[in-house]
């Protein structure tokens, strides 16, 4: 099947929410992804489909730094290679059996992936320290509606957001408290925003306050 994904970096979630030794389902532009993390902390973004019989890998389980498919127990290393086929315990799985994986980077506490077949679009080579996770918010509206809301600055989140690279947003032009919002397109009628913050106030209750404002903002955006 042809990969026709555009060459761009899309957020798939907050780094802090992908626990070590866990796997998760994420949908970008209608396409299913399995995002999983080994016990060593490395995050993989793969097509949510085992090459054997198409079972969603997001239902799989992680042991050590391998992901095992729930259907027949085929196990894959972090590089995507199949390392074990339990129905044939003496078989060394051929190198051709591997999952479809995508490049992934973390930036400002958010995990990004690029689904294009040959991504060339640049990504900051150095991450920034000091960004704290706030929360992800999933919305039953197209991403356009969310972008309008953020830029209009009329709602609970207030004004002051400007567009950044990768078509995301941040507030607070100075070195004070800043909020970053990364937008994930899920499908024509759904999207998600992944929010992190950075600033002098490292008190967790500042993040909690912002998390509550985001829940209110979700209601404002969807009520429109």
């Amino acid at each position: 099947m042809q990969n026709s994904h555009p060459d761009r970096w899309v957020p798939v979630g907050l780094e802090a929410q992908f626990m070590p030794a866990s796997s998760h389902p994420v949908v970008v532009d209608g396409f299913g992804l399995a995002v999983w993390r080994g016990e060593n902390g490395a995050i993989q973004v793969w097509e949510d489909r085992c090459p054997h019989r198409g079972m969603r890998l997001s239902f799989g389980f992680v042991e050590g730094n391998s992901l095992t498919c729930l259907y027949h127990g085929w196990t894959y290393r972090q590089n995507g290679q199949c390392s074990s086929i339990p129905a044939h315990p003496d078989l060394d799985p051929p190198g051709t059996i591997c999952t479809k994986s995508f490049v992934t980077r973390c930036h400002r506490g958010t995990v990004f992936a690029n689904l294009a077949p040959e991504p060339v679009s640049g990504f900051p080579s150095v991450d920034e320290a000091g960004w704290m996770p706030v929360r992800s918010v999933y919305l039953n509206v197209p991403e356009k509606r969310v972008r309008e809301y953020i830029l209009a600055g009329q709602g609970t989140l207030g004004p002051g957001f400007t567009q950044t690279e990768f078509d995301n947003y941040e507030s607070g032009p100075d070195a004070g408290d800043r909020t970053a919002i990364a937008i994930q397109p899920i499908d024509d009628n759904h999207c998600a925003i992944h929010v992190t913050r950075s600033g002098r106030d490292t008190d967790i209750y500042a993040s909690l306050k912002l998390a509550r404002r985001l829940v209110r903002a979700r209601r404002e955006i969807e009520a429109f």
Binding site: H52, Y71, H72
Partner: protein, 294 residues
């Protein structure tokens, strides 16, 4: 939803209700191959089946036949004959009507899951398979041309608790299986009876494809078990099927891909390879992923 035009799919007897499902004096609306149908039962128990017309009223009458605790109907003029399963008539067997379960999946994925042993250790952990013995030994597959059925024989698998009676008595055993695909939408297995080397339990799966991606699965069985209650027998079957259901609903693509490079089979999958070849050979289009021309 519109009815399929695939003559291979249309010319099958397809399960549409289980015996006892429709209360006498009432009717039950469902769908088959994209066609809305209605089964109506009179107070004396006789039932009829009709297509539901565009106006919501009864359309063309369809034939109805009852076998294996199930009511079957067909949209075709020359349907494939229903299979012979003599076990259902044997007097010393318990015939279990396990009713039906709905699921969003392709009928062919359901057949392949039924044929598959490699998933026992994972999906049916500690019941039909255990992590100590995961190997699937070589078995035989053939297309029996005289009856036009796919058969898999010499299948064996170590099972901790292969049935209600085995589970009660504790301890594992090697279970021997034979699999038989009687039609594109039906499959059954014969499995070792706990404590009886001569005869097999017969466990069947008849699939009603409401559409290409939504089915109802009926699981009647004719088994040798004079210890378990019917409630326990049904409970065991439902437990197993609901474990398979989360797999079946989460395979992608939903439609069955027939191009060889789409999925990677191993030697444990020879029965499903034979099944797919058989579907291709009979020209089945319903439920099959039609690849785009390059």
């Amino acid at each position: 939803m519109s009815v399929t035009d695939d003559p291979v799919a249309l010319n099958q007897w397809i399960a549409c209700a289980y015996v006892g499902q429709v209360t006498p004096g009432k009717s039950y609306d469902t769908a088959m191959l994209g066609q809305a149908i209605r089964i109506s039962c009179a107070l004396d128990g006789t039932c009829t089946c009709h297509e539901i017309g565009d106006d919501g009223g009864p359309g063309r009458q369809l034939p109805l036949t009852q076998r294996f605790e199930i009511l079957f109907t067909t949209l075709g003029d020359t349907p494939r004959q229903l299979p012979d399963i003599p076990e259902f008539a044997e007097a010393d067997r318990r015939v279990a009507n396990c009713a039906s379960v709905g699921l969003h999946a392709s009928p062919f994925r359901i057949v392949e899951n039924f044929l598959d042993m490699a998933h026992f250790c994972f999906v049916h952990k500690d019941i039909l398979g255990s992590m100590e013995k995961t190997e699937v030994f070589t078995y035989k597959t053939e297309h029996r041309k005289d009856v036009d059925e796919i058969w898999a024989t010499d299948c064996a698998f170590f099972q901790p608790a292969a049935s209600t009676s085995a589970a009660e008595k504790g301890g594992g055993q090697v279970t021997y299986y034979k699999y038989r695909v009687m039609s594109p939408f039906s499959v059954m297995l014969y499995k070792t009876v706990y404590g009886n080397a001569e005869r097999d339990d017969a466990i069947c799966l008849f699939i009603q494809p409401k559409s290409e991606t939504e089915c109802i699965a009926y699981m009647p069985m004719a088994i040798l078990d004079d210890q378990s209650t019917m409630t326990q027998i049904i409970d065991f079957q439902q437990t197993i099927f609901l474990q398979d259901r989360i797999i079946l609903e989460n395979q992608r693509p939903v439609l069955l891909p027939l191009t060889p490079s789409a999925e990677i089979p191993t030697k444990a999958d020879v029965s499903s390879i034979a099944f797919r070849r058989w579907l291709k050979g009979m020209g089945m289009r319903f439920g099959i992923l039609q690849e785009q021309a390059a």
